[in-house]
Amino acid sequence: MKIIIIHDSYIVRKGLKLLAEECFPSPNIIETSNNEELEDVLENNNSDLIFIKNSLLNVETNILIGKLSIKKQGVKLISLLDNEQVVKNDFVDLYLNIDEEKHELISKISKLYPKSETKNKSVISKREIAIIELVAKGLTNNDIAEKLFLSPHTVVTHRKNISKKLGIKSVSGITIYAILNNIINPNELNQ
């Protein structure tokens, strides 16, 4: 779980960090205090969840969020209010008031993550196993696409999901996984 916290108050950032650690197991948290660094932070980090101070959601940030198509990638956006009027923003998944109590905050955040979604997340599909096998045998994404009658783009998406599920990014790492799980026979590789 990668989380970005954008707020200009140090104390609020630390509070949000504690809250995030209560909600998710060992989250990877990046903090930033201002809009200046926002673009840099958003572009360089594939996050799963963003906390942002509501008043920082101005026109510029909206353009940025639109440009990076964060919403398409399923990144959730939580906006933090300090008792101000809410101007509805399409990008925001949840508004939290900083006055709220712990149990309210946690229950609202966890509603963003329905159980079924997390349950099936780490199961590897047959298609993915087929791709793992071909990656381990040294085929490129294009080779794989041709062989399985998929578009190269679909193969890339599969590869990303595989890396996420397995926690393995490199080709040689995937090869080891394939051998350990009898997806391929190591003797085949030496040919």
Partner: protein
């Protein structure tokens, strides 16, 4: 907790023993008695302000005073980064290697692990080699140029942007290695050996992250500024 110059050096270690290799890099040795950070630094001819920023950034990953760090000279920063390299090459990597070699049974799985680590090591060393032989000499030279005001002599075709572009993440394999051991390698026996390997991998990872953060957020922007002023003069 923020480490200050008036703290006792011994208390710094008690606060976070993982700072030990970082402190060693400044060629500061144990046996501080009750000396403060400032005193120890003075005896060892270490720039105390630089020392404090480095240990604080390492100690607390949310503490990273980019602006302060960029005030230090390129040669001081590079010197520290080179010490990091030395630690990787001559200490932690050989140490992990030794531990892996100490696994008794040479099963197929262990051979896989060894080969994977070997691959990672080669990648890391090649990366270090490039920094030591190309990038660091370049940034030191460019700092000399601007100091000597012989700015017109900058005919270097290299630029820090090339480095910034190439600065790929060699973290992938390290990340994989950890997960292979944690999630997939059946290691019913010799658990303690695997624990040691993992512990060292986590330590190495933290150190590398700290190292590349200094390169990316301090060294690269600083050199970029120097390049700019060389061009404009």
């Amino acid at each position: 907790m923020l480490i200050t110059q008036n703290m006792k050096m011994a208390d710094v270690i008690h606060l976070n023993y993982k700072l030990l290799p970082v402190i060693n890099r400044f060629e500061i040795e144990l046996g501080f008695g009750d000396s403060t950070v400032e005193e120890v630094c003075k005896i060892n001819k270490v720039n105390v302000h630089f020392f404090l920023e480095i240990v604080n950034a390492f100690n607390d990953k949310d503490y990273f005073p980019k602006k302060n760090l960029q005030q230090f000279s390129v040669s001081l920063i590079v010197n520290y980064l080179q010490k990091n390299h030395l630690y990787y090459i001559s200490e932690i990597i050989p140490h992990i290697e030794k531990t892996i070699d100490s696994l008794c049974i040479n099963t197929q799985n262990i051979i896989l692990l060894k080969n994977f680590f070997e691959e990672y090591k080669k990648e890391l060393f090649a990366h270090i080699d490039r920094e030591e032989n190309v990038v660091y000499p370049y940034v030191i030279e460019i700092e000399k140029l601007i100091k000597s005001k012989k700015t017109k002599q900058n005919q270097n075709k290299y630029s820090i942007d090339i480095f910034a572009d190439e600065h790929d993440n060699i973290e992938d394999k390290l990340f994989d290695l950890k997960n292979i051991i944690i999630k997939y390698l059946p290691c019913s026996t010799e658990a303690s050996v695997y624990n040691k390997i993992l512990y060292d991998l986590f330590t190495l990872e933290k150190d590398l992250n700290d190292h590349s953060r200094i390169e990316e957020k301090v060294l690269i922007p600083k050199v970029r500024n120097i390049e700019k002023s060389l061009k404009n003069s």
